[in-house]
């Protein structure tokens, strides 16, 4: 934390800190020697004192930096086709705010690691910015997963949509347990995972697991076995198509 003997920092209000922070950031960007203490103090007041004025000033000061990171992310081309960069930058700050205050975080299931239950400790501006960048990464990955899920939905046969009774029944974990029990062969269980959980194509599967599946033809043959077994399995009656 900030050296208690730094009277200039202790005596400064948030706006004064923000002004000095801005000046030091400009020096940093001009590759001149700069002092991180003002920006660090502003962040620490926002995080540990939950000072909303400090937080607002931090947001103003570093929003542009986070915006630049959005454009630099490896998934930028994909995700920016669907949302403005400001949206991702704002969401990154929101996640940072939540992650740095345990009482704001959503309830965690039993057994949640302590890393998610306690406020992270920051000693330097670099570590704070690294964590902010990490929050942005989560936002961008979320969008990428969502887009991949949308792409695979495609034009489904209307009979595919699950009736409400199915949606309220068995969780995915329970269903997977049923699938595993219905497939006694290890290779078939592994193939079912690659096909239905990861939605990999046969040639991807052959590349990923050549020791188990040497050719695409083998994948087709085993897939037929899997689907025939699952269709006949009494525990999976919900998945049998009607006549």
């Amino acid at each position: 934390m900030v050296d208690a003997s730094s009277d200039d920092l202790v005596g400064m209000d948030a706006r004064q800190l923000a002004q000095r922070c801005t000046a030091e950031q400009q020096r940093y960007h001009q590759r001149q020697p700069s002092d991180d203490r003002y920006c660090l103090e502003l962040f620490l007041r926002a995080i540990y004192r939950r000072d909303e004025i400090a937080w607002s000033l931090v947001y103003q000061q570093f929003f542009g930096t986070v915006l630049a990171w959005v454009h630099q992310h490896p998934c930028a081309n994909l995700v920016l086709a669907h949302e403005e960069p400001d949206t991702y930058a704002s969401e990154a700050f929101s996640r940072f705010w939540v992650a740095t205050h345990p009482t704001h975080a959503p309830p965690q299931p039993a057994g949640t690691p302590a890393i998610y239950m306690s406020t992270p400790r920051f000693l330097t501006l670099a570590s704070i910015l690294a964590y902010l960048k990490h929050c942005l990464n989560g936002v961008m990955l979320d969008k990428m997963r969502w887009l991949q899920a949308r792409q695979r939905e495609g034009p489904l046969d209307p009979s595919i949509s699950l009736p409400a009774s199915e949606k309220s029944d068995q969780s995915a974990q329970e269903l997977w347990a049923l699938v595993e029990r219905a497939l006694p062969d290890r290779r078939e269980r592994r193939l079912a995972y690659l096909l239905f959980v990861l939605e990999m194509k046969p040639r991807e599967i052959v590349q990923h697991a050549p020791h188990d599946f040497s050719t695409a033809q083998e994948v087709y043959r085993l897939t037929r076995n899997i689907l025939d077994r699952l269709r006949r399995n009494p525990a999976l009656l919900l998945w049998r198509e009607g006549d």
């Binding site: 960007h29 992310h73 997963r145 695979r152 699938v179 695409a216 198509e241």
Partner: protein
């Protein structure tokens, strides 16, 4: 319903039509298009496969923030081992870890280009501005505009106007002159509009000065910007231009 034609599709062809339709032979594709029995058999497989995927897709993949934690090295202990084991068997999560690590890696810094001298232009008091605003093409006074800047023998008049042609943003009109040279000497010099405080972001707009010393930046959004004029001897900079909506 069964297909009793001599060219009835083998079950494996039906699976190919579900998993890899582009790999299906032309003959098989044609048969599927013409045979209701085989089409229904293929559709039956497809329904089961799609219903399984709809329910099971990435059901056991960790949340993206955990993937990011793992990639950043924030995770420890048992959960780290669990995530690591999952990443080793899940190519989707492995890809996300690779993307995250690429994002977190320090940027590769090319050999530093020489830092160009910067000259910060000073805003002159308003009464001087009103006298010189009429010299601008399309100029006129409006809400603190036009503005006059000076720096080391260089004068810059800047005016903000509504965008023409129905554009969403504003127009910035500039006229630059230098005491020791003619307007033609500045022809072709680049003018860049940058978002204040984000040097890593490419310039929002780039234009060139004409042979009379004028430049126009069109469709400028609301925000806070730095205007940079790349003179041969260095960059003339107007910092923190506030443009409201």
């Amino acid at each position: 319903m069964d297909c009793f034609t001599p060219d009835a599709l083998h079950e494996d062809d039906l699976i190919i039509s579900v998993l890899d339709p582009q790999e299906l032979s032309a003959e098989a594709r044609q048969h599927l298009a013409e045979c209701p029995a085989c089409a229904e058999r293929a559709a039956s497989y497809q329904r089961v496969a799609q219903r399984l995927s709809a329910r099971l897709y990435r059901w056991d993949c960790p949340p993206t923030q955990e993937i990011s934690d793992y990639a950043a090295g924030f995770m420890t202990g048992k959960r780290k081992r669990e995530i690591g084991a999952h990443v080793r068997r899940c190519p989707r999560c492995a890809e996300e870890v690779a993307i995250s690590r690429q994002f977190f890696a320090p940027p590769v810094t090319p050999a530093a280009a020489p830092v160009r001298p910067r000259l910060i232009a000073q805003l002159m008091p308003r009464r001087i501005t009103e006298a010189t605003g009429a010299g601008l093409r399309g100029g006129g006074g409006d809400e603190g505009w036009p503005r006059q800047y000076q720096a080391d023998g260089i004068s810059l008049s800047l005016h903000r106007a509504a965008s023409t042609m129905g554009g969403a943003g504003a127009m910035l009109l500039g006229l630059i002159s230098r005491a020791d040279s003619s307007a033609e000497d500045l022809s072709g010099v680049e003018v860049r509009l940058l978002v204040t405080g984000v040097p890593d972001l490419p310039a929002l707009l780039v234009e060139q000065i004409d042979d009379l010393g004028n430049f126009v930046l069109s469709d400028v959004p609301a925000g806070r910007f730095d205007l940079l004029i790349a003179l041969p001897e260095g960059d003339l900079v107007i910092e923190g231009l506030e443009l409201s909506g």
